[in-house]
């Protein structure tokens, strides 16, 4: 410790101190003040220093014209010892003399001599400047053995039994810190180390579930990268009533997602048509997330690492859709051992097996097969398909991963999904005999190469091939309808990501996709129905028929770039995507026997700027906004010269959203989101009585949807988790410029969902409550008699001007997990509609449309299931 002096020089008078100045001398001016050139440190009184006492002595110093100190007197005392020390030291000061009128002259000043104890920095060698503890996210217990790696330095530390780790002399600046352990999800974060400050952190990590049951996360409303996400763990998702253990089905309960019609499984987000929402698995588009009927997802939950539901405003990396985005990421296979599970319930049975072969190669196989149709056939005396079409489905997956080296991996994924629907209604009336057969399937094979380069940049390349088939045959009496298509799909997604500066991350890539489709359609123009069609449930389609057989090639090459710019509390993600489409087809006009068809080819493009902004005014508060343009090409079936329009171009959408999230506690959060979507150039049926040839569809449609949503969520905490979501929205369409706006077919003003689950000693019980507004329908205000077919035809009122009554349902789930040595057995019963409420699902009319009633959903229905895991 060393004494230092703090001096305040105060010039109190520019006068000679030896005598009173004569009157004429009063006009002299001080032209230069004295300047201290030799400072002498006073001796700190030892007792005072030992006691930590600090003080200041105010002195009056006389300075001669030679700069030497003359008389020194105490003006304000700090004690005799301090005064004496100060005076003694001051008398040894040497000044540059003051000048009056440009000549050296004696002066007197007031000087404050301060005695202060200074902390002395003593270099003792290497110092710990970064330390912390690692705790389990929910139990808050210390996690030992976690590898804490500072990636950019290549140094690591292990946590001890207290979960503690420390690093010595970590260079100042930003560092990437990664936490890994066999039992936790590997995570990484950035830490900033400042000069002379020790960084102390507390990390909370997710513990993996037993065996292969690793983490699955489901995120909602991720409008930008930094926005607080709703992450639902596998453990939570499986316990949500109504999902029957299928983690991906929990998406249907997230905010922004409207309730799909009974038995449809469609994903309706933020007022967008289901066909406008894209589903990607590792960046490869698949036709559907769920099997027909929505009973199961098309990919095994245990192969999924995460699923993001982005209702709108997503970044430049993705496109080709006007609606939302569902992004599924497959999970890495276990790095050691053999794992798997078998499961069965009243819907289907499934199994999965994974194995690590050596240190570098891993493989996994999974499959599922449904038997609900057979089961119902066995327990009921009637052919259930006569009344309620029971879907039959199966899906298979295979994955293989080869580690090529440090930070370099090659993986291959094969996905297959099949759906079959059979329904037939016999009748004594030939015109009332109905059959309905639908077969859909898709296959995807893709290879994913990923590498982290030495400079920290990452490269991911994913070429893919796919094959889709759809065949739907229906027959209402003598009116058959056939729609079948086969499509070969190809794609290449390549991305490069680099962080050239601490505040800047650059991502650029190419998203290439194409499909070669062969289509055949015959029968009524009204089947399949389009959004906005006037209809009455169960009514036969019109018997005007036509046919077409055509091929199309739709290819899109989309380079994109986006930046992540971190400016303190503000993060900007500007991006740009350029979609260049080529639309080709075999027929520009309807087929005529004996003539050679003339094909078509046209080029379309879309320039899509995107921007996400995030601002964090507080560590618990995040405000974010997103805006972007989106383009979508017509489907191949819309390019038919008979049923569609080969000259259709791109449809366009504008997404705008604003979100605020608040982390109330470590596990309790609240998020509020507002959104607006505008859709332009939508395809709709031609309204002209005599339309031009090959223009059954036009691109006059316009749409808009807007609303807000709130999510209050308690993450898993002491065995309990749950959330409350509420959305209010309105979605409208205008099919042609001269028409009025109408409600979107799937519009639901209010959507309220409550999910809660509690686990105690291996038992878990959960409830799910749902309330939604009914979807719009067009009322029948009258009818006339069709004397040719002996049936009444409806006269419609205002388009979509009434609603099906509200939907209210309570579901419960009870499960028990039995743990054995290396096995665990989970038994659950999932009871839907426990109050046996008759929820209206559709409007039906009597034969002459004078009476109206509702088809109701299923009554109380229990699903029992087992799952054995190893």
């Amino acid at each position: 410790m060393r004494l230092f002096a703090f001096a305040l020089v105060m010039l109190v008078g520019a006068r000679a101190f030896a005598q009173e100045p004569p009157e004429e001398e009063a006009e002299h001016k001080l032209t230069k003040p004295p300047k201290l050139v030799t400072f002498v440190e006073a001796e700190y009184p030892p007792e005072r220093k030992a006691a930590g006492v600090e003080a200041a002595v105010l002195l009056s110093i006389e300075i001669g014209d030679d700069g030497r100190v003359g008389n020194v007197t105490v003006v304000q005392s700090a004690g005799a010892d301090f005064d004496a020390a100060a005076v003694a030291a001051t008398k040894k000061f040497v000044f540059e003399p003051a000048e009056i009128d440009g000549k050296p002259a004696p002066v007197k000043i007031t000087y404050k001599y301060a005695f202060a104890i200074k902390t002395q920095i003593v270099k003792l060698g290497p110092q710990v400047n970064f330390e912390g503890v690692v705790l389990e996210r929910f139990t808050k217990k210390p996690f030992a053995g976690v590898v804490v790696l500072i990636k950019d330095l290549g140094v690591q530390a292990l946590t001890d039994e207290r979960g503690h780790f420390q690093f010595i002399d970590v260079p100042l600046g930003s560092h990437r810190v990664q936490l890994s352990h066999d039992k936790i999800i590997t995570v990484a974060t950035d830490e900033e180390l400042a000069k002379d400050k020790k960084k102390t952190v507390k990390y909370f990590v997710y513990e993996k579930q037993e065996g292969i049951d690793e983490e699955t996360v489901v995120r909602a409303t991720r409008i930008k990268k930094e926005t607080v996400q709703t992450v639902i763990r596998t453990e939570e998702a499986r316990r949500v009533p109504g999902t029957q253990g299928d983690t991906l089905k929990v998406v249907q309960n997230l905010p922004g997602v409207a309730r799909s019609a009974f038995g449809s499984g469609a994903i309706i987000v933020w007022g967008s048509a289901p066909r406008d929402t894209r589903v990607n698995i590792d960046g490869v588009e698949v036709p559907a997330l769920y099997h027909v009927g929505g009973l199961r997802s098309t990919i095994n939950s245990d192969l999924v690492k995460s699923i993001d539901l982005v209702p709108g405003g997503y970044g430049a990396e993705y496109g080709r859709g006007l609606g939302g985005l569902v992004r599924v990421e497959t999970r890495p296979l276990p790095q050691s051992g053999v794992h798997g599970y078998v499961a069965a319930d009243v819907l289907d049975a499934s199994a999965m097996l994974t194995a690590a072969i050596g240190k570098r190669f891993r493989i996994g196989l999974a499959g599922r097969y449904s038997y609900l149709d057979k089961l119902l056939g066995a327990v009921t005396s009637q052919d259930i398909g006569d009344f309620f079409p029971i879907p039959r489905y199966d899906d298979y997956q295979a994955m293989a991963t080869l580690s090529l080296g440090k930070d370099e991996e090659l993986s291959a994924v094969f996905l297959a999904s099949d759906d079959h629907l059979r329904r037939s209604i016999a009748s004594a009336d030939p015109a009332a005999v109905r059959t309905e057969n639908t077969d859909t399937s898709f296959y995807r094979l893709f290879v994913r190469y990923s590498r982290i380069l030495p400079d920290g940049a990452s490269v991911v390349i994913t070429p893919s091939l796919g094959y889709d088939t759809t065949k739907s045959t229906t027959k209402f009496g003598a009116v058959p309808t056939l729609a079948e298509s086969e499509a070969l799909r190809y794609g290449l997604r390549a991305s490069y990501r680099r962080r050239p500066a601490r505040w800047l991350t650059l991502s650029l890539g190419l998203d290439l996709a194409g499909q070669l489709a062969q289509s055949h359609r015959s029968g009524s123009l009204e089947i399949p129905p389009r959004e906005g069609d006037l209809f009455v449930f169960g009514r036969p389609p019109g018997d005007d028929v036509n046919a077409d057989r055509w091929t199309t090639h739709i290819a899109d090459a989309a380079p994109y770039v986006f930046f992540e710019i971190a400016l303190g509390k503000l993060t900007l993600v500007p991006g740009l995507r350029f979609d260049a489409f080529v639309l080709e087809g075999s027929q520009s006009t309807p087929p005529v026997q004996g003539t050679t068809p003339i094909g078509f080819s046209h080029f379309e493009y879309g320039i899509d700027p995107r921007l996400q902004v995030n601002y964090r005014p507080h560590k618990r508060v995040s405000i974010s906004a997103a805006v972007g343009l989106y383009h979508q090409a017509p489907d191949s079936d819309e390019l038919s010269a008979v049923f569609g329009n080969p000259s259709l171009g791109l449809s366009r959408a504008l997404h705008v959203s604003l979100a605020t999230s608040v982390k109330i506690t470590g596990t309790l959060s609240c998020e509020v989101v507002g959104f607006y979507k505008q859709l332009e150039d939508l395809a709709s049926r031609n309204e002209l009585p005599t339309p031009p040839l090959a223009q059954a569809l036009t691109q006059d449609g316009f749409g808009r949807s807007y609303g807000g949503q709130i999510l209050l969520r308690q993450e898993l905490w002491k065995g309990f988790f749950g959330w409350i979501t509420y959305s209010i929205s309105r979605s409208e369409r205008r099919d042609h410029a001269d028409r009025d706006f109408r409600l979107f077919d799937f519009d639901q003003t209010h959507v309220l969902g409550v999910v809660a689950s509690y686990e105690y000693k291996g038992w878990a019980a959960g409830v799910r409550f749902r309330y939604t507004s009914g979807v719009p329908r067009t009322p029948v205000t009258g009818a006339f008699y069709d004397a040719r077919d002996d049936q009444y035809q409806p006269i419609f009122g205002a388009h979509n001007s009434i609603r099906i009554p509200d939907f209210v349902q309570l579901d419960v789930r009870l499960e028990k997990t039995f743990a054995f040595r290396r096995l665990s057995l989970n038994v659950f019963v999932d009871v839907q509609n426990v109050t046996n409420r008759a929820n209206p699902e559709e409007i039906v009319y009597n034969f002459d449309f004078t009476k109206r009633a509702y088809i109701t959903g299923l009554p109380t229905l229990a699903v029992l299931g087992l799952r054995l895991q190893f």
Partner: protein, 293 residues
Amino acid sequence: LRRAIFIGALAACNPQFAQPPSLVTEPRILAVRGEPAEVRPGTSARYRLLVATPDGTDPAYAAQWAYCNTPKPLDENNIVAGACLGSGAQSIGDGATIEADVPLKACQAFGPDPPQQMPGQPPLRPRDPDVSGGYYQPVRVTYGGETAFGLERITCNLAAAGAEIAIDFAKRYLPNQNPTLLPLTATQPLDGIPAGTQVTFTAAWTPESAESYPVYDLTALSLVDHRESLRVSWFATGGAFLHDRTGRGENEPDSSTDNVWTAPKTPGPVHLWLVLRDSRGGVDFAGYDLVVK
């Protein structure tokens, strides 16, 4: 328990309406018959109306007839354009029966011969045929506050077919003829049916009623032979039919169809009507007076 749940689920889904279509409780139009059943545009056709009331057949002298002249847009899914209910139709007279010339341009408005394209404009889309390859002139009839449409089949050219097929079609195709009902037969005498008992009625038609005809298959782009299916619609002022309609499909050679009728529990007269329809728009009908004792 599970069985009960599933069966209950099925029962809960579908509402049932009390009154079936076959029960006549108020005046109703049951059929419109055009004679001949198929005509060329510009030629004459006679239309006849069948109106049922709880008291028997209504002669419907005050029926008002009109030809619809507005094609149906593709975004409407009724059998006729909504405009045909209003100003999109032209009156052709009043009465229980009416005779009128089918408009000369019927095949342009409702058939495969669209109006000529305007200079610089794309050609217009031909109308789509029905599953039997036919096109129809809508005939509107209004009576007693009820509106009905009959569809008079019109003979037009083939759309999207080459000359060779068109010639072949013209040679083989015969305009549709109305089917002919034979007298109703029953397991009980019609004038003495015990109250509350079940009677099996048999409606039969002449063998030539189920005609064969070629259809230009728009997928195969060739002619395919079909045979008419025949349907019988049953109506009565009392009792209950097992089926509202019965019939024979295209591949069923039988020329009759049965239905079971349960007589009302209270004695009294019951009026019964049968309407026979072929799958190309041909119609025949008959009425019977039953006595329930």
